[in-house]
Subunit: 162 residues, 2 copies
């Protein structure tokens, strides 16, 4: 009888970097990730939706530490020059709120409850990436603490000091 | 000294359902997820990139069990009728490959290595969602086993029986 959510994490020192219009062929995601790895950059999240542009290309977004965003951009420049039409897009200052719980896979509606708690604070969700035992979403940096507290009390984990 | 990858999971009975052009305001993601939860649908993954359409709306993709996709579509119909311009889009038959390892957060390049192993088999990646200790990506259903085996041997986990 594992809890659907046993803890909430907040990452506030994060930045979002999207690569817009990458070629949708095998090897693209690998090249992007490995180029940043060569510079020692640790990626906190990678999100690519299934959406394609008219020309068939896709976008890939990376969430990483704020202080490594410039370095990441430098790492990606050689790839961008090889892919005409591909460009970098810096995202706004963000915070990432994640709920973790081993009971999540066997409980219906955990993500919905988390998103509802955030919506009740009138906070907009900018990105979502979930997996079996972890639901994370991106909100504006200024809303991070409020979102964390809202999710924390939604799952009755008590109130946090802020 | 935890391994960056201790295991690989393959989900082959999955389907992808995207909701295209949802209003980008607080409560949208919650309503979609809770509507499906009301029908008892367990979502295996939720992916929303930061990308917006010209009119400011966004897309949200869900990965769920194949046999629940029709039920999910029925659950979402009331919401769609409230949001003009929003539509459902069924994805192709998919397989999801995930690498899990507690050492992933402290190791640079795990995702890149996984994507490279998949690219070396000339397999295209349709979606990506990662978090600290889990990297997952979607490939065509027909490529699932091949992708699993490629990633399995990349991280020296031995060969799988197929
Ligand atoms: C698009 C959707 O994520 C919306 N921004 C919300 O907060 O629910
Ligand atoms: C866009 C990117 O994911 C590409 N499809 C790849 O396989 O690398």
């Amino acid at each position: 009888n594992l809890p659907e959510v046993r803890g909430i994490a907040l990452d506030i020192e994060q930045a979002q970097l999207s690569v817009i219009g990458v070629p949708d062929k095998p090897g693209t995601a690998a090249s992007l990730c490995l180029a940043m790895a060569d510079f020692g950059i640790n990626l906190d999240a990678i999100v690519q939706s299934e959406r394609q542009h008219e020309n068939g290309s896709r976008d890939i977004s990376f969430i990483l530490k704020k202080e490594e965003r410039k370095l990441a951009e430098n790492a990606l420049v050689p790839l961008l020059s090889a892919w005409p039409g591909t460009r970098l897009q810096e995202g706004p200052a963000i915070a990432r709120v994640s709920a973790v719980g081993a009971g999540m896979p066997s409980t219906v509606g955990t993500a919905g409850k988390m998103f509802r708690a955030i919506a009740n604070e009138n906070i907009n969700i900018g990105m979502i990436a979930t997996s079996e035992i972890r639901t994370s979403c991106v909100v504006a940096q200024k809303d991070g603490i409020k979102a964390l507290n809202a999710v924390h009390s939604k799952f009755n984990l008590g109130k946090l000091k802020t």
